[in-house]
Point group: C2
Chain length 345, copies 2
Amino acid sequence: MSMSAGRAGAGGVWQLPKPYLVFLGDVRLATLAKTGFGVRDWAGHDCVGQWRLSPDAISLELPELDPKQAAARGARALLIGVASVGGQLPQAWIDSLVAALDAGLDLISGLHSKLHDVEPLRQAALRNARTIYDERHASGDLPIATGRKRTGRRLLTVGTDCALGKKYTALALTRALRVLGVDADFRATGQTGIMISGSGIAIDAVVADFIAGAAESLSPDAAPDHWDVIEGQGALFHPAYAGVTLGLLHGSQPDALVLCHAAGRTETAHFSGFPLPSLEDAMQAYLPHARRANPAARFVAVSLNTASLADADARKLAAETEERLGLPVFDPLRFGVDAVARSLI
Amino acid sequence: MSMSAGRAGAGGVWQLPKPYLVFLGDVRLATLAKTGFGVRDWAGHDCVGQWRLSPDAISLELPELDPKQAAARGARALLIGVASVGGQLPQAWIDSLVAALDAGLDLISGLHSKLHDVEPLRQAALRNARTIYDERHASGDLPIATGRKRTGRRLLTVGTDCALGKKYTALALTRALRVLGVDADFRATGQTGIMISGSGIAIDAVVADFIAGAAESLSPDAAPDHWDVIEGQGALFHPAYAGVTLGLLHGSQPDALVLCHAAGRTETAHFSGFPLPSLEDAMQAYLPHARRANPAARFVAVSLNTASLADADARKLAAETEERLGLPVFDPLRFGVDAVARSLI
């Protein structure tokens, strides 16, 4: 039987077909193409090219290919690398996505609209025996957490807030560990992360009872010196998403925690009246919860997003913070993460 | 158009049709009839009768009625008051549930099986223009939490573990407040609670991103002296469900917290190796998270489930604990809750 709705597999973990043709549509705003940039930066070898519907659309500087050309070069799926303006699926995109299915590609989407419910797409997927992966939907069968201690080592990035570099930090640390010859896997918990790694669980989309269980199945038993570097979500202080954060923390049972913070941010983004804790208070809040699942849990570093600062100021702040906390402080975009990676092995 | 799949309404809050005919099937084990007993004990005026398929089935001591008789007495729905052995839907139940739909009753179910997916039931619901309320499914459209402080007053029961009296405590306090003339509502967060109150949100069944948002829509703005008494779920120390607990705590933004504990329990039920915290440590863990959403949050009492103790021992333990903590300690099943209710007004 030909499958047409992609579903997460065992334990709710997605497995996506690679390599990708990255679809950019007619989107001109770089802020709408975060997925595309993320996939290019972190899984560039999995991107055979890009497909733009307009010459003034965003470019990832990948080879320009249409679906047929991409399929001929081995692409297995069209990955939608942009958010649509306003969240609606533009008509022009539908026709293009049908063309991709007709060229033999699967579809991978993190859009709010469920592509599988769009009749022309469903028909085209059926006709071509292709699969549509709607990452925001169909999270599969998840287990209830057991709390059983698993083998192997785990690092989780946690934050003072959302959107300040938890995914980027985890990716950078995974890469640095691998360069050092360590057997390490990035474990994705959000849709861009899943597209980058080709597998993972969108932890904020699972049913509440299964948050910790999903985190457990995301990083299964492994060899004693293997590291899972797990992408954190939300923040324990976040008025909307703290439940996701706590369940992920428990289920991940990390040995090592990296606290992520954006320099200069003093309030929860989009939630005025919710000040951010100090780095010290944040670590003190996370630790007892982390130790409930793994008594050996400890903070190993602070990842400071210094995008708002000039280079000299960024280095000064990092040095001061390092001095104050007695922990390595780094900005994965600016200063190497090697020292932190080395400290883990 | 006749509706046949019951869905939660605005903000994901269920509204169930009352009064009920309580279905007990052929179940003989009282432990499988917790829903039936809960509905009888706390919403007895909403139960026109019980329907048993066998004379040796559990009895709630309600009038014995079949669906036609119940419908004639005003029943609007058949409520499944028992869990099925093994979780499967017995064939004999299906025929009986069809008979209930044919008699003009809606169906209310908290079973894991989705009744709406059982073809004979779906057909009978369509044929009779009846609704099937599958409480574990279809949680409706929920909002992301805003953290905005709402008007009115709120009490949340929290615990050291699952299954030790959080629902019972909330129901008892609501009743006691009403007896004192206080405008109070019980806010249900689990399926038995929803069946009892006729409305609510099964908070562990919502998508993780919406836990706090669901809790916010469950207890909307109210008059300044109105109390919402919210049924707690899980525990902040629970390896599987802590995320649900934290999201519910944030979204409920309680003024008053009641800590629930089962006397003598030292380990998380079904999770060996996860010892329970002391009552002091539990309160210290809950408070900072509660104050994130409501700086005025405080513990007002401890609810001690003393079912495992003789009466004299229970009273002695309550007195000692009260002395130690400087807070009222009560067992809602054993000692009145009036003093605590009075302390709130």
